[in-house]
Amino acid sequence: MTAVHAPVSGLLDVERVAADFPILSRTVRGGNRLVYLDSGATSQKPVSVLDAERDFYTRHNAAVHRGAHLLAEEATDAYEAARATIAALIGAETRELVFTKNATEALNLVSYAFSNATAKAQHGRPLPSGAERFVLRPGDEIVVTEMEHHANLVPWQEVCDKTGAVLRWIGIDDQGRLDLDHPEHGLHAVLGERTRVVALAHQSNVLGTVTPVRVVADAAHAVGALVVVDACQSVPHMPIDVADLGADYIAFSGHKMLGPSGIGVLWGRYDLLEAMPPFLTGGSMIEVVRMEGSTFAPPPQRFEAGVPMAAQAVGLGAAVDYLQALTSADGSLSGLAAVAAHEHALTAYALGSLAEMPGVRLIGPADTTSRGAAVSFVVEGIHAHDVGQVLDDRGVEVRVGHHCAWPLHRRLGVAASTRATFYVYNGLRDVDDLVAGVRHAQSFFGVA
């Protein structure tokens, strides 16, 4: 029953790519082919990433930025070379890149700059030059959007609770796009002279919506606010240049872009990083330590307390190399542009296939304009958990639930949804298996 597909332009050579990912050759649930459609949660890893980590441990392992022996030198060089590789991917300066445990920690690092600066200012304690930008007063406002992942919402709620700032949010329309012109929840309705931070996702992890960051950032900067972008679903999937994007910070995770778990990235404008008080404190983030008090290293070391995740950084560097070496099957595109074109073609095919199915309701933009490869839907009469269970039984692995975006689901009037996300190793055949699985769920539960 495998459909034969006419050539679709923009696709990668999926069979060749998939061969680089050992896990994709295993079978699941009684011999079924693994159809992995949950890369939005975490991606699988190519063998080059696994090899890079293993090579680090087998040949160069030492605690980086400490010690003067040969291995310490090699480990530190490998760690810093990875930083340079990842910075180059997003058009950033190397010193502007901070390694964190994950994107959630990266976003917390920024949010804690505000609450920590506010607390220190209240007690007249030392702060870096320029830290006034991070001191919040009761009534100051932090703006988020209604489609945020909890990781770019809950930290800001916490900042508000600690400082007396007020949380406001930009609403979405029924298509799942930011409703920028809405009289109450639009961009200019919520931005004001008290706005200090605007935090938003570049691409919704549920709806696939790509937000107009530049438009929001320009408006935010016009009122003197800083712009924090959750780029977890964009950096792995499209070319990004931080200068063009217009944000002051972006956060993303390594494990969603073929890299290891345990590493995330914060990029920030250097003058802002310099003005921020530290987040986690301890070894290697200091300048001078005395019993009476301490001073801190310049960024990025100021924000990398303790022995860092060197092997994971090296692995992420290898993942970036892998992504940049990808080319379209027809040779027309390379790197992240090829990745974006591939996902665009898959998304168009998936949206078209699912839209034709009776009893299936897509949530999020119905066409591929400014839209990434997260496709979420509701099957009428079947809870997402049950849809996911039937799919899993056939080897099709999707995400079910609210995908850490509970307020978004509430806004859309959906308790839980089924989400398929595509990446470089997915092909049209995977979409066919998804559609066949949904159809099977409908017949199993007797709703179609």
Partner: protein, 152 residues
């Protein structure tokens, strides 16, 4: 391959025709439980007459497993004593946490044995337990509020 063992006919039947669904009065305690990973919610009320469970009423939204489980809970426990209800709950929890290696006792569990297949799917165990944990919470509140002060 195991879909039928997970979704036993009894479960699908309770899902499509839930027993005792809807919130009723009077009640002795009401609780609201959620499954934070999927957003499933259940409001549940317990009514006692002495140590007899006279009603368990509930409302909520969730997957077939969580909704059917609440329906079976209602059917199994209403009319029983609190002690029997708690013993059944313990047996059900043991079954659910057994990873498929616990032999269910139909005499204790009744229709709830149909959930034995759920234990093989760790991600779904919370779904099956949602109603039972809500009931346990509600009955402990109801009993606590009824217990007379112990005379000095």
């Amino acid at each position: 391959m195991d879909l039928e063992s997970l979704y036993q006919e009894i479960i699908l039947d309770h899902y499509k025709r839930p027993r005792g669904r809807g919130l009723r009065e009077p009640f002795d305690a009401e609780v609201h439980h959620v499954n934070p990973t999927c957003g499933d919610e259940l409001t549940l009320r317990v009514t006692l007459d002495g140590d007899v469970i006279t009603d368990i009423s509930y409302d909520g939204q969730g997957c077939s497993i969580s909704q059917a489980s609440a329906s079976v809970l209602h059917e199994q426990l209403v009319g029983e004593t609190v002690a029997t209800g708690l013993a059944t709950t313990d047996a059900f929890v043991t079954l659910m946490q057994g990873r498929g290696r616990v032999e269910p006792d139909e005499d204790v569990l009744g229709d709830a044995v149909a959930f034995a297949g759920v234990a093989k799917y760790p991600a779904r165990v919370k779904c099956a337990l949602l109603g039972w944990m809500a009931w346990k919470d509600a009955v402990s509140q109801a009993v606590a509020s009824e217990t007379p002060e112990v005379a000095p």
